[in-house]
Structure formats: C-alpha cells, structure tokens
Amino acid sequence: MAQGSGDQRTVGIADPEESSPNMIVYRKIEDIITKMQDDKTGGVPIRTVKSFLSKIPSVVTGTDIVQWLMKNLSIEDPVEAIHLGSLVAAQGYVFPISDHVLTMKDDGTFYRFQAPYFWPSNCWEPENTDYAIYLCKRTMQNKARLELADYEAENLARLQRAFARKWEFIFMQAEAQVKIDRKKDKTERKILDSQERAFWDVHRPVPGCVNTTEMDIRKCRRLKNPQKVKKSVYGVTEESQSQSPVHVPSQPIRKTTKEDIRKQITFLNAQIDRHRLKMSKVAESLIAYTEQYVEYDPLVTPAEPSNPWISDDIALWDIEMSKEPSQHRVKRWGFSFDEILKDQVGRDQFLRFLESEFSSENLRFWLAVQDLKEQPLQDVAKRVEEIWQEFLAPGAPSAINLDSHSYEITSQNVKDGGRYTFEDAQEHIYKLMKSDSYARFLRSNAYQDLLLARKKPESEQGRRTSLEKFTRSVGW
C-alpha cells in the first residue's frame, strides 16, 4: 500500500510501558479483536451451537473469522488471513475450543474469544506453582472434556516431584479453586474453563509449538519493574518467588543534561541550514539508478548463464572469477567512476590504460591512500611516511599534481601522521581522475574493445608492441 510520508500518526504516550514493542502489538490485536466481537459494526457471528445433548456457548467458526479478517483488513489472499488468525490465536486472544494447539483453520472448527483477564497485555508470567494448581484442579474434576493430555500428565508428574515438599499446599489451593468453580453457572463455567485452558496453552505450550511468550532480550529492560513479585493467576502469595529466567541487565538510565540539549540545539541549527534537494529530483535519481542497475539484479532479471542457487551450477561464479571480463561487466564500469574502482578487474584495466599514458601516479596514489585507511593502527605512521615520500615529497618518484592549498593542508597533516592524513588530497585526485582520465578511458580503444568484445588481430598487436619497445628505448 503506497503511503505518503506526510501523514504522521502521533501516538500520545503517557505510560512508557505502553510504548514497549510487545505492547504495541498487543494493543493492535486487541483493537482487531474488539472490532471482531462488535455486533453493531459487522463483527463475526458469535452464537451458541447445539451439539448432541449439550449446547456449546459463545463460539464462532474459523471461516467466519478468516472472512472477517479478509474483509476488514483488506487482505486479498486467504492464506495470509489464516496466517494472521493463527498468530492472533498463538498470542492467546482467540482459541479453538477442542484443541490445545493454538492455530486457525479456514473451516467449521469452533473458536472462542479469550477473556480480557487473561490477555497477554496484562504481562502475565505465571509461576509453576500456579500451573501445578491448575493441573491438580483439572484432575479433581471428573469430566471427560477436562482430562489431561499426555504432555500435561507428564508435566504434572514432573511438578509433583519438583514441589514434593509443598504439594499439600498446592493441593489445598486446587481444592479451593474447585469449590469456587462449582458455585458458578454451568454455561459460564464451560466458557471460563476453556479460557483458562487457552491461557495455559499460551504459557505452557504443547511441545513443538512456538512459545509466543518468549521475548527478545534486548527489549526486556523496558518491562514493568521486572524485579517486583509477580502476580499469581489464582491469588496465591508466596514468600519465595523465583526470579524470571529472562536476563535483565541493570543499567542506570543516563539523564539528559543541559549540555546534551545545548549540543542538540547546535546540531538542529546546523541541520536547518543544510542544503536539500527537491523530492522530484530525488525521486528521478532513485528511479534512474534502479533502472540502470535492474539488469544486474539477479533477483529481478535472471542471471546469465544461470543463477547458481537455482541451477546448482556455479558457472556464473566461475566467470566472475576469471580475468576476462564479460561485456555485461565492462558496460557497468561506464556507469560511474566508483564502479570501475570497485571492480578489481576494472581497476587493473584502468591502471594499464593510465600506464600507457604515463599518468598512473594519480590512481596509484588513490589506491595507496585507500590501503592506508585499512592498515592496523601500529602501521599507520610508517605508511603515511612512505606515501609522502613516494607521491608528495619534493623530488618524489611518482609526483602527483596538487594545488597549493591542498598541498599545504596535506603537509600539515603529515606531521600528525594519522589515518586521514591524505583525505583532502585524495578527494582532489579523485575528482581529477573522474573528470579527466576516467572520461578518456571510456573513450579509449582499450575500453571500447572490451565493451564491444572486439578481438584484436594478432599482427596489429605485434606492430604495436614493437613500436612501444622502440619509443621506450629512445627514452621518451
């Protein structure tokens, strides 16, 4: 969906917790869920379904949900809608009433909405004691639909071993919960039981299912006071609450000082005065660049001879490694000066051309300065001296031509001998090469031959080299 970047939605945030990444997603889902359940504005049909001898209260079919998502979120592909529905289910906002696995299907399977009490946005991190109480409670209720699944039975067994000493306490809590539950209306209980089960399906997922409560550790610091004692699902307060397994690095938050803001003000003032290009020009430039390079983009234009990943043939890579550049590759050198500098083979060709004109010192200087910047710290000073001696010192063997201003700056810098000593000089030489030598190279026979894949006849080559030998021997 193309959007202009002018419309900025300002989100008024009072509570810093609200802006944490997880919460942003939860609020969006809650928004969707609320709309989905809204009768008046075209929500999904939630109804009670008759089944055998009983009624199934408050359910909606998967198809209805998927249809609703497609219609209200402008989704064209049902596969996408199913995926989104599955995610909403996996997060714990809607669940299939007869399955522990939280996923969405585009069929007549029944789903129910989760109670706001159990919503993930309440930042639940339920303890194992709560889980133990829950599983224990389930075993106390003699109903087929509440029987423990295999993995739950295994979990219960492990918890019994782990909490051996306080099992009596847990048992009592479970009994108390069962008593409370018995007092509730039958239909209400059905709904609440399923919602409670769905809650635990999120926090203790079926083995093999994604645990959606896992957090990106980099975002954990903004949790609501993670050191605080966590609330219990069943209102159980314990003396020794175990620490959350999530690593919480503690770091004092650095307050912004007056100095910080003064710096910011200076920066903003400089930015306001900056020179900018019009959007229309920028758009043209981006489009032009993309159009020029699209034939070199293997993900858009199939690569010749083939994409190795698709054909399992590495011919393409072999060709690129060879010293003989393809026409395709040579053409790219003409796009910009940077292109020829980037390509090792292109650089070599350019260097050879310059050597034939006896003007290779500029490129060699540029390459030497690039190399300098890549040196380890301890070698920098030595290299600076070497470059100075070779290219810039009075009587240098490969003297480059710098204007006096640039020369002044550079000779000053050499005294400090840092990595960026020759930045100014390098920029000058770059501009010089770009406007002069590079332009001539593109017009030269050497380049044109490669570009048009012209093969030089042997005899012509022989004549050329002997002429070169002659001129060199004469000392020109």
């Binding site: 969906m1 993995y151 550790i217 003000i265 900018r276 758009a283 993900l299």
Partner: protein, 456 residues
C-alpha cells in the same frame, strides 16, 4: 542628556553588596529587593544563564525540531510513488527456499555473508557461532561463545576471520583456520568493550577495523590488532540496535538505528552525527543503505519499513499494510535497489517494491520470528535466519507475465519438487516451560494447515 532614566526610590544599603548607593527595585523570584545600579546590571546578565533551565532548553530544542520539519517539508513537492507510476510494474514472483541450514540448537539471531557469495556465518541464542558453506549446506567451523544470546556476527572482507558478540558486552574476532588440530577459540581476540550488550558489528573495508553498536547507546570504531578504540559515536538516547556502512568507495559514513526511534548518520572520521531522522513510532531494529548510498531503509517495531533519502533529508516512503501488525526485524535491498526484503516477527518475509511502495510478495516458511535477513554480495539469493533454529537461502525467478485474455492473475504455478542436497531430517523443536525440562516427546509435531500448500 541622560541615557538612563530610573526611578530612585531610596538611597541606602544595597541588598547585595551592602554599599551605600542609589537603589532601584528589582524582582527576584517574585520577591522585591533593592539593588544598586551595578549589582542590578550583573543580575540582569546572570539571569540569562539562570533562566536557561533544562525546561527552557528543551522547549527551545522542540521548537527547533519543528522548524527543521518545516524546512524539510518545503521541498516536498511530490511523492516517490507518484513519480514511480511511470515505472514498469514487476511481474509475478516465484519464491522458493533452496537451502535450509539446520544445526543451531536454538534461535538464530544474526547472520552475515562472506564476499565469496556462498559462505555465511550465523550466531544463535545458545552461544554457538557457525560458519557454513551454504551452497553445499556443510558446516565448516563452529565455536561456542562463553555467553548466551550472540546477537551480532560478521564476516571479514578477506574471508579469513569472523567477529561476534552479544551479552558478553564484547566483540571478539576469531581467525578461521582449516587446521583440524587447532581450536578456533584459542586464537580468539577480544576487540571491543562496551558497557552493555553488543547489538551489531561490521568490518569496514578491511579486516583491521570493526564498527560496533551497543545497548549502552553508543557506536564505536576499533582497531582489531591492538583492540584500541579509534572513535566513539555518542548521540542515541537509548540502546543502538543496528548499523550499516555506506557502500561508497570513498565514503566514511555509516547509519545506526536505536530504541530511541532515531536513525542517525555518522561521520567516521570526526565522530559527529551529520544527519538524524525521527519518524518511526517505535524501536528501529534494522537499517540498510540503498545500493547507491544516497538513501537507506529501516525496519521497526511499529510494523513499518521506511526509506529515508539523504539528499532530500527526509523520509520518502513508508512500506506498511493494515494486515502487518508485527514488527520488522531485518531489512535488505536487492542489488538494484528495486526490491526491499523485510523479515518480520510474524514469521513472514515481505518483499516490497521500493519505488512504488507496494508489496510484491509475501513468503511463509519460517515457523517462528525472522530475526535476520541479508542479500548475498552478488545479489543472487538472500538468506533469512529465524527463531525456529533454521536459516533459509532463497533466490527467485521473476516471471514477467504478459497479460493474456482469460489468464487469471492468481493462477500461479504450483511449487515443483525442490532440489535437495541433503536428506531432510526434521529436528524436534523442544520448548521448555520455565524450570521444567521436557523429555523426549513422542507426539506428532503439529503444523499450521497453510504451510503444506506453499512450502515444501
């Protein structure tokens, strides 16, 4: 003629210097005092600094921000997608996973390509860093870090070393050796030291320098040999989550994104921020330069990706959809910059048409969050890493479909049998409930229904 007229109320002892002088009334914090003329002047200039409280400075900064936005908006004469209407639309895409790299025992957090276009390094939550030849899917090297959550890893330009780090607050460089007898961990070199987790690292053009980003809110440039800090970059107001070096041959800049919702462009030589953008509504998880170096894209927890142009000095495109509500964790461009690949926390990869702003394709295939995504150096494929413990390499064939009467656009060719170099052994994913370890599970692994139609 007197140049100053003031009312002389009284002649007496100055409340400040106590000298006997002509006094005038002054108000200090709504209290009336009597100062002599010289003291009153001093107070007037002092007051300037006193009034420069944190609050007044902040409001000045806010009003400058507003003015900056005004200036930026002045040159906003057209939208990118409007100009791009004349560009030919991209055809249908056929996307297929060509290689699946299995071997990490836990969430894959980061990956990087080697310049040889086939090797990759990947790191995961369990501390393992693996170097693969992704073309053959062979593992070539593996090292276990002393910390968990290795959030950053990078391949050296020479292909002879890798760098990685995470919760250990450090960035370490490991030379790659093919000598079976040598223990990779033995030659480890600790290069960067931060005061909080390492979120991103990247070599510059050489093996000798590394650029790092950290949860301590700073970025830093280090000399690998000596471990010395060459330059540090301060300015983010919260954790820095990502960085990318400008692709230019002569450039010395990089961009970083952080939890303060800001993307900042830095000059590596001076350590100064040269441009900043603050339009995202939440953490910026990933930044990547457009191939020409004139723009960059960002992916954020606000479920959008955005394109910022450095010459226009503003955000020039937003890539979002109503149905995408989970954050984007990782972005990268195709070689020409026409496509933007973005991995999301909803397990999908969305492919965007950079110029037109529309979504070209959506890829399913991962079974958990996509945490990292990089296009290969020659652009022939891209690789995504996920919390589902796998890495997938995906090239694609673009079919430019000529519209024929009667041919439905939704008649996509079905996926053909994928090429398999290795047998598919499904690793059982183990989930642990806090504190309870699950033993061997004999249950069938449930799979969402849609997967079987799109991905084999």
């Amino acid at each position: 003629m007197c140049d100053q007229t003031f009312l002389v109320n009284v002649f007496g002892s100055c409340d400040k210097c106590f000298k006997q002088r002509a006094l005038r009334p002054v108000f200090k914090k709504s209290q009336q005092l009597s100062y002599c003329s010289p003291c009153a002047e001093i107070m007037a200039t002092d007051g300037l600094h006193e009034n420069e409280t944190l609050a007044s400075l902040k409001s000045e900064a806010e009003s400058l921000k507003g003015k900056l936005e005004e200036e930026r908006a002045k040159l906003h004469d057209v939208e990118l997608h409007q100009v791009a209407e004349r560009v030919e639309a991209l055809g249908q895409f056929v996307m297929k996973t060509r290689r699946t790299l299995k071997g990490h025992g836990n969430k894959v957090l980061c990956m990087d390509w080697c310049k040889d276009k086939r090797r990759i390094v990947s790191s995961s939550q369990d501390g393992k860093v693996i170097v693969w030849d992704s073309f053959t899917t062979n593992k070539e090297h593996a090292v276990t870090m002393p910390c968990t959550w290795v959030m950053a890893c990078a391949y050296a330009p020479s292909g002879c070393a890798i760098a990685c780090g995470g919760l250990d607050n450090k960035c370490s460089v490991y030379p790659l050796t093919f000598d079976k007898n040598e223990n990779m961990a033995a030659k480890k070199k600790s290069v960067a030291m931060h005061t909080n987790y390492l979120s991103a690292c990247s070599f510059t053009n050489s093996d000798m320098q590394i650029l790092t980003a950290s949860g301590d809110g700073t970025c830093a440039l280090w000399d690998v040999e000596s471990g010395q800090l060459l330059q540090s970059f301060h300015g983010h107001g919260a954790d820095v989550l990502c960085l990318d070096l400008a692709p230019s041959e002569t450039g010395n800049t990089f961009v970083s994104g952080g939890c303060d919702k800001k993307a900042m462009v830095w000059d590596m030589r001076s350590g100064q921020c040269v441009q900043a953008f603050e339009t995202h509504e939440s953490d910026i998880n990933s930044v990547r330069y457009y191939p020409s170096g004139d723009a960059f894209a960002s992916g954020s927890d606000d479920a959008t990706c955005r394109l910022y142009d450095l010459r226009a000095d503003r955000e020039v495109a937003i890539y979002s959809k109503e149905s995408i509500i989970f954050g984007a964790s990782s972005v990268d461009f195709s070689l020409s910059g026409r496509l933007l690949f973005a991995g999301y926390n909803d397990y999908t990869i969305n492919v965007w048409d950079v110029l037109k702003g529309s979504r070209v394709s959506i890829l399913f295939g991962h079974e958990n969050r996509v945490s990292t995504l990089r296009v290969s150096p020659d652009g022939t494929a891209f690789c995504s890493g996920s919390w589902d413990h796998t890495l997938r390499a995906q090239p694609q064939a673009l079919l430019l479909e000529v519209a024929l009467p009667g041919l439905e656009p939704s008649d996509r060719p079905g996926p053909s049998a994928p090429v398999n170099l290795r047998g598919r052994a499904r690793t059982t994913c183990k989930t642990t409930c806090s504190g309870i370890k699950m033993g061997p599970v004999s249950q069938k692994l449930p799979k969402p229904a849609f997967q079987s139609t799109l991905f084999k």
